[in-house]
Amino acid sequence: MDVSSITSRRSLRVSVREFFYQEQVPYGPALLRITLPLVLLETLLPRWIHARELFSADGAAAPLAINYNLPGFPPEPSGTLAVAMMTALIVALMSASIGWLTRPSLLIACGLYTYLTLLDCVSTMTKYSVISSHMLLLLSLSQCGSIWSVDAWRKRRSHSHSMTGIPQLPQAYPIWPQRLIQLFIALVYFGAACTKMHTDAYFTSDQLRYWLMTNVNNDNPAGELLSFYPAVVIAMANFAIVWQIVFVFIIWKPVVRWVMLAIGVMFHASTTPLLGLYVFPQVMISSYLSYVEEGHFLRVRGFARQFWSELPVRLDSSRLAATVERLQPRFRVPAAAASGVVWIGILLTATLAGVAAESFCDPYGLRRAEGPFPLKQLDPQLAERLMSPNSPILFSDRLLSFDVGLDMLGGVLLTTQRTVHRGQPFFVQASMAPPHEDVWLNCQLLDSNRQLLHEVGQIVSREHLRADWQYNIPTEFPPGQYSLVLQHQGEAVAERVIGVE
């Protein structure tokens, strides 16, 4: 074995050790600890009153394991226990966010959140809940409560009371939990890119176009508009998959990191107007806080202080610190054990109060004066539609679009045109909605007097979604309005009028 290989092996070991065990003040994890629970509370608070229905044996729990043909995993709690757990989860998340008994809070939150989401795969568990479970677990292993937390405040105050009175500097810890969060996020993107590679329709814009038209999330008017530009969708899709694949490899480069994260923020933020997603982008953007390391934070703080000092109107920071000090409670800071007892007391009291409040609310209306709710009769119109045979599926239902354009990108029209010039080649494209049978489509070109000028047909087999025809209106033809008519089985199923100049 030569010296260079020994050296390189040793340097690799040193690099790995430094990568995981470098000591830093956990600014990034602390920011994530503050933010992530608040995002999760946004989804959990509205579900609290439905806890009995969503997560318990006294409701309609929807365990994920049923989809895997594995009933009974995990066991379903009683209604009261589900409400108690949901309440405790909310308290634990609040407590984690403010950093009060941070580690137990995060462990409780992680356990309860994972357990409850596993019980409702229909309306609570999604990939953002899974990502959140991972991050809560990794945060609980970190020292994220050592700064900007009640724990840190209590420790600092008790130290200043008992010792010298000199405030302690934040302590540095091995960075490995933060590294695991960073690696986890990068591998999520890599895995998501694998999914896209397995999905042919992702690269042809079809899958994303239909997603943009889907109405299962919140309103997405910008997405509906974007679905008219499949070439833009293809370009964005290709950019996104490249970004997701390279993320894990280049996020560690200091200069590239912020570019990658800025693209990520834009990518996730755009899913709100485009796809109607609210919580997923918040979870992912919060997760980026794990990429904030000590050096970054100190640099930003340095810039902020410099900016602050250059402001024409300056606040006296020593007076501000004195004011903060004056506003702090004057009571004796409880010892760690006493703080724990108070925390447990609050957790138990809140949980019991939650159970009592939910029982008082009577979500199923069982204790109403008039008794339980009667069943609602089915809307007669809907009942009739359910019970009668389906009308045949119209061909126009299977046709997504019929349009004209000058150029193609990735097999779709780059732009749509309403006017073309004589002698200028242009494309006509019909897009089908899957699933469809093998079909023969005819495209006719008619002049303004509805005279047939040209007719051409094409088979669209079941595995293809598009038929394209290239046209070129000769210069001898007069300018005016021409029509392109799409026919199926001899019947016109779509028509597009174009101006020819």
């Binding site: 591998l187 009667p374 239902d397 997504l400």
Partner: protein
């Protein structure tokens, strides 16, 4: 000791994550256990050209049909403006939702619980001017319905049917005279006993109602 534990955790955690990514990339047992959902990142899959909804219906002994989801105590909208029952694309949890409503309401004896799938082209979700821009054909949104589950009043499965999408995909392939000659009639039409899968047509299912 502390370093050993953290080393062990790092190795174990990264191994589990990599296992998920590799099984998913190779499509090998990627969905074997519910916990693989925690390590397989298959977002964005399964979006179709048709919007899907769920109708859970109770048939009383008098023949009256009742709405079993959402419950009469109010709708719960988890992600947007549609109730919870519509977020179950595999219809694995619909009957349970119906049973829960029956358990907590006043009603006549219920003889059957029926679960229907409703689909319509997603382009019908677009506002009319946009839809006309996409494909200039006058069109009323026409839903298709497909019976998926038939249970007795206690929720015991009597019949289970394949999805509208599977039927359409099957028809797209089988609409071929040569193939039709090769497929025996007994294989073309199978009405299923509980817990089994097969294919049949919507019209046949309706005649079974």
């Amino acid at each position: 000791m502390k370093r050993c534990l953290s080393n062990g955790f790092i190795v174990a955690y990264l191994s589990v994550l990599l296992f998920g990514v590799v099984t998913h990339a190779l499509q090998y047992h990627a969905h074997r256990h519910p916990l693989t959902y925690y390590i397989v990142w298959d977002m964005f899959c399964g979006w179709s050209a048709w919007e899907q909804r769920t109708h859970i219906v109770g048939e009383g002994e008098s023949g009256t049909l009742y709405e079993l989801a959402p419950g009469p105590w109010g709708e719960y909208h988890p992600y947007g403006d549609i109730p919870r029952q519509h977020y179950d694309p595999f219809f694995n949890h619909a009957v349970r939702q119906g049973i829960n409503v029956l358990k907590h309401t006043r009603h006549e004896p219920i003889s059957r619980i029926l679960v229907y799938e409703e689909v319509w082209p997603k382009k019908c979700n677009l506002p009319e001017p946009l839809r006309q821009r996409l494909c200039p054909v006058p069109q009323d949104p026409a839903s298709q319905f497909q019976l998926r589950w038939v249970c007795d009043g206690e929720g015991t499965v009597q019949q289970r049917y394949v999805s509208w999408f599977d039927i359409q995909a099957q028809q797209a392939v089988s609409n071929n005279p040569r193939l039709q000659r090769e497929v025996t009639p007994s294989k073309q039409q199978v009405i299923l006993a509980s817990g089994m899968q097969g294919q049949n047509s919507a019209a046949e299912l309706r005649s079974a109602n």
